[in-house]
């Protein structure tokens, strides 16, 4: 069939070079011909205190970044959408999109100049005589947090902006004319109608945080290990392939889980919206 013919190169490429290795790696992490079932490696991961701590730290950090990104992102997106001047709005959009396209190493490195021993904050606090000697800001959870926030805030804002732009302009006006105050307008109109954007943005940010490598590596180092840096350590430093694979798989399954949960959420939202609009 002509239809499938056009798809074959792309599908063959992805299946052979991408999906099979990943599935193969997964199978290998569960069952090995010479050793039999090795699935207890997954249990080992959660039995070891270090890896357990790292895992929950990663989840917690991702959650925190997602929430803060949402809190900053929603009003930002509303501000962007409200800008009437077209060229100003497109400039704002460019500024928001731009960080996504810059090299993540360069982006993260910027924080070294802010948080380093002789970075902006230490110099500022020293010159204000708040501090007598520089404090360590790098290789802390705070550093990783702020780095991740910078990295993923644009994703949240873009998701929310497009959700807000899709919202029919006269719906909020209609709600106002029917007597909704600002609070009601937000909770009864904006939130439900942009729920899909919220879910999409949150999913992107959350999964992005779980899997990000550069930021925890540069700003957290081995002091604040995250799932991704632990994975790299196991693979490259200790050459423990099995454990590295297990961590990779746990990372993958976690993002998959988040995707599933969010899909369930967003389909609820969509269904509600469809029902409302008949």
């Amino acid at each position: 069939m002509k239809k499938y013919f056009l798809l074959i190169p792309c599908l063959a490429f992805l299946i052979v070079f991408f999906i099979i290795p990943i599935v193969g790696m997964f199978v290998d992490s569960v069952y090995q011909p010479e050793k039999g079932w090795v699935a207890q490696k997954y249990l080992d991961f959660f039995r070891q205190r270090l890896s357990r701590t790292v895992y929950f730290r990663s989840l917690w950090m991702s959650l925190l970044v997602t929430l803060v990104a949402l809190l900053i992102g929603y009003p930002t997106a509303m501000a962007v959408v409200r800008v009437k001047n077209d060229s100003l709005r497109s400039l704002l959009m460019t500024l928001l999109v731009f960080p996504l396209m810059t090299n993540p190493v360069a982006r993260t490195f910027s924080w070294l100049a802010v948080l380093g021993r002789e970075g902006l904050i230490n110099n500022l606090l020293l010159s204000l005589r708040v501090l007598d000697s520089p404090v360590r800001l790098l290789y802390t959870r705070g550093a990783v947090f702020i780095g991740l926030l910078q990295l993923f805030l644009p994703l949240m804002i873009i998701s929310l902006t497009s959700a807000l732009e899709n919202l029919p302009k006269d719906v909020p006006l209609a709600a106002r004319s029917l007597g909704a105050n600002s609070f009601k307008l937000f909770t009864k109109i904006y939130l439900p109608l942009t729920s899909e954007g919220i879910v999409t943005g949150s999913t992107l940010v959350f999964t992005g945080c779980i899997t990000a490598y550069v930021t925890p590596a540069v700003l957290g180092g081995s002091r604040v290990l995250m799932l991704s840096t632990l994975l790299y350590q196991k693979a490259s430093v200790t050459l423990d392939w099995t454990m590295a694979t297990v961590i990779a798989m746990i990372m993958f399954l976690s993002t998959l889980g988040v995707n599933f949960i969010s899909r369930a959420f967003s389909t609820i939202g969509v269904r509600r919206w469809r029902r409302a609009s008949g």
């Binding site: 070079f17 990943i22 190493v105 990372m251 993958f252």
Partner: protein
């Protein structure tokens, strides 16, 4: 809301400004505010062969991965936009899978399957990984311009005697130019910036620029990376501005 916008912009963009100024720092530690002004770090970083080599590799991989992804992605996007068939949902999942599967997972899998088993050399594997990762961007971008192109235009061309293949080159391709260019730009930037895939797929002589930068940062704490970052950020800014001028920013994301 304006406050939030300001906060968001300063979190996202502030560090860029700081890195920009920090790259002119004359002393050999990274500091802000800088204590003077020098262009030495720019000169130095551009003269270092490790950066030069890795830059060339990164550009080569990004170029080839983008072209390859278009070669694979354009026909696929065409089929997805024009036909309905069984298993379409599954195919869409396969095509978008590189977006869902974490890059480090894919990188590790490719390393174990192709490099360690000596199926392909590292550089080939790197190209494979990058192509797979940028493919969804290529497909998505081309798909969205195809969806906006009415099928009737193709039917018109065919009814006037154009063979479907000729119709594609004479009528479809010129009208999805914007989608293809933005697909290329997105794919190129994504590949050029990629770390998680390249992280595991590096070896003697095969190190992409971001990986070399990371390695360098572990040992040296001087403004050279700041200078390099400034250069890269400036380059990206130029690409984004040109792209925006040509296509409009909405087309890129």
């Amino acid at each position: 809301m304006t406050v939030a916008l300001f906060v968001a912009l300063s979190i996202m963009l502030g560090p860029f400004l700081i890195i920009f100024f920090a790259s002119f720092e004359p002393s050999s530690t990274l500091r802000f505010p800088p204590t003077g002004f020098t262009l030495d770090w720019f000169r130095k970083v551009m003269g270092m062969s490790m950066f030069q080599k890795s830059l060339v590799l990164s550009l080569r991989i990004a170029l080839m991965a983008s072209l390859l992804s278009l070669l694979l992605g354009v026909p696929a996007a065409y089929a997805l936009s024009r036909y309905s068939f069984k298993g379409k949902r599954t195919i869409e999942i396969i095509v978008t899978s590189p977006l869902i599967i974490p890059g480090m997972v894919a990188g590790l899998a490719l390393l174990r399957f192709f490099v360690l088993m000596q199926v392909f050399p590292i550089e080939t594997t790197l190209l494979i990984g990058h192509t797979a990762v940028v493919l969804p961007y290529a497909v998505r971008s081309v798909l969205s311009s195809l969806v906006n192109l009415p099928v009737a235009i193709e039917e018109a061309a065919q009814s006037l005697g154009a063979h479907p293949l000729r119709c594609f080159f004479l009528v479809v391709l010129p009208n999805i130019k914007v989608g293809i260019i933005s697909a290329f730009i997105m794919a190129f930037i994504t590949s050029f910036n990629n770390v998680p895939i390249s992280l595991f797929l590096s070896g003697p002589g095969v190190n992409t620029l971001p990986i070399v930068m990371m390695t360098y940062m572990e040992y040296y704490y001087n403004p050279s990376i700041a200078a390099l970052s400034t250069l890269l950020i400036g380059l990206t800014l130029a690409i984004v501005l040109v792209a925006q001028k040509l296509l409009g920013v909405s087309k890129l994301v």
